[in-house]
Each structure stands twice: as structure tokens, then as C-alpha cells.
Symmetry: C2
Subunit: 212 residues, 2 copies
Amino acid sequence: MSGSDASAPASTPGRRGRGRPARAAAGAGPGARERILAAARGEFAEHGYDRTSVRGIAAAAGVDPALVHHYFGTKEQLFGAAIAVSFEPATGVPGVLDGDRDAIGERLARYFLGVWEDEDTRVPLLAVMRSALTNETAADVLRSFVLRRLLEPIARALDVPDPRLGAELAASQMVGIAMLRYVVGVQPLAGVDAEEIVRRVAPTLQRHLTEQ
Amino acid sequence: MSGSDASAPASTPGRRGRGRPARAAAGAGPGARERILAAARGEFAEHGYDRTSVRGIAAAAGVDPALVHHYFGTKEQLFGAAIAVSFEPATGVPGVLDGDRDAIGERLARYFLGVWEDEDTRVPLLAVMRSALTNETAADVLRSFVLRRLLEPIARALDVPDPRLGAELAASQMVGIAMLRYVVGVQPLAGVDAEEIVRRVAPTLQRHLTEQ
């Protein structure tokens, strides 16, 4: 692969873009990076990690595969970048940690449910969960992302001796709700109002985050 | 398919059983049902719902596919039966509900962690989770199984007004721990002693199950 050859993509026609030949010809033009990232997010969400290829992402973005490698490196690194975009709403967590400490659990529960109730953010998050369940590389990427972008900020914000295990147990509660409410669709959990869930899980999150 | 023809399998040689021709020839002989179920569990665990076929299960069990249909009906029904076997340890839950009510959360946490710490029970449970995440039929089967075999017994045992939502929130906490500890392998959750997790989540399960 010519992933390290920065000049190649710009001079390659790359006319495989479906229905947008002008942009495809532009290749490395303005917005190419964002277009590749959006395509990667869509392809990983739809097909999962295993069945997504750099070639397919390049085609969906209307660019040459070499340009994808140039901007993002390997498929694994591109998956990491796509996860980062998908989790962007979730990285608002540090903001949740500001303010009245006694209501951290409630703010976190409401924030998390909001992210999952919105289809635009739910679909890519589900895709990441699916990929992590079926592919070890995807699980690796998710693991280091969760650690660096979610748990470390929480650990910095809380002044308990060992905040990471508590943060992970809080995350477990929310991941399990995501599984049973949005994926498996168990009733009554799948049908109950989001605010009722906030009310019920807020004390759990509060305890995990601030007590040991 | 001759799934409803009970006499066919017994008269079929079915010599595709790998290395056990005597049993394969026996077809509908003693233990065939259990052998098919064990094969189904293994095949679904290894390949997931989508990529598992009745034909492949029959081959692994050393019987004719018609015998599989005779005993278990469709692939979907066979998946349901395989789930029931995989969850058999988890259906010990009603036993957990007997005894001192103030320690229900702790008993449930210890029981659940025990099931997941044991590789023999963990592997098929993971397979069920994977299948439910990627296939709607598998999710349906899991949903009705969880309802009938896990939640209804819990609902009967607890004398709170609406026990099912609480039982599902407790289940969410444990499912999320299974995801992050055993699948994604996030540290420190993946490395900490199981008893430490029991200590931390017991109050959460207790609250979900007995308070509203």
C-alpha cells in the first residue's frame, strides 16, 4: 500500500465515487478528511469491523484508498478515529462532572440516556459494541479509547482514592441498560420513560462514582 | 425438509459424524437428543446464529438433519433450546431469592459472577450475547427466554408492586459487567478479584430488586 506516499492520492483520478465524480476527482481536496471519516463511520456501523474494508470506505467517500491510508493509517487506526467521532457526545462526560457533586449520578444518567435516545448517536455506538463483541482488534481499540477519553477524565475530576473501578462499574450499569433497552428490547425496560430510568439508576451511579 | 417424518432419521445411515460412525449409524438411538443439543450449543457458540446451519449441527452430532428437525423443529427453536441449556446455571436464580431478603443482592452478585468466572458457562453465554447483538431472531428468542425463565420467577419471589423493571435494571448491571470485564477487558475491572465486584455491586442489586 502507498499509505505513506502523500503525493500519490492527489494525482490519482480515483473515479470510483458513486455519483460524485467531481469530488472523487478532487481526491485530497478540502473536506476529504471529514468525508472519509463520515464514510468510515457509516461503513463500520452498517457492516461491522470484520466486513468493512478500507477500499469500501474509500469508494463511499469518493476518494482513492491511498488517501485513506495517508490520512488515517491502517484500518485499525481508522476504526479508532471513527470511534472517537461516535463517542464525541459521550466525551461531554467531564462537563457532567462539574457542578454539585451530590447530583453527579443524576446528571450522568440523564446525559447517557440522552445520547442513547437520539438515533444519530445510538446507531454508531451500537456498531462499536457489535464490533467489539466479535473482533479482538475492535475490542482493543475500544478498550484504549474508553480508558483514555472517558475514564481518565473522570478519575481526574473525582477526588476518591481509586476512581477508575467505580467509573467502570457505573459504565457497566449504563452499557447493560443500552444492551437490554436498545438492543435486546426487553420489556418493560425498553418501553419505560427515560426519566424513570434516570430516577432509578442515579443513586447507583452516584454510589459507584463517589463511594468505595 | 422431512422434519415431521419421525421414521426417516432412524433408517438413514447419516455417516457424516466425524470419527464416531457407530453413533452416527445409530441416528435416533439413545442420547441422540442430548448429542444434538450439545452440538447446537457448540456450533452457535463458535459461529454465531447467522453462520450456524441445522446441517452443520447435524454433522457435528453425527445424525441426519431430519432428526434435528424432528426433535427441535426450526433453527430458531433449536437456538431457543440451546440458550435454555446455556442459561441453566442462571436459572438457579430462584434459589438465590430464597433466604434472608436483606442479602439477596449479595447472593445474586456472587452467583452471577460465579457463572461468568467459569469458562464452561461463560463461553456459551457470550455466544448468546453476540448472536443477540447481530441477529433479530436471536434477540427475539433471548428476549422471551429472559422474560419467562428469569424475570417471571424473580417477580413471583419478590413482593414489591412492580418487580420486573427492578429485576431488569439489576440484570443490566450484571450484563454490563460481563461486557466490560469478560468481553472488552477494560482494566482495572477485568483484573480485580470477583469478590471485590460482589462487594461493590451487591448494594446496587439489592436496591434495584427491593426498592422502587
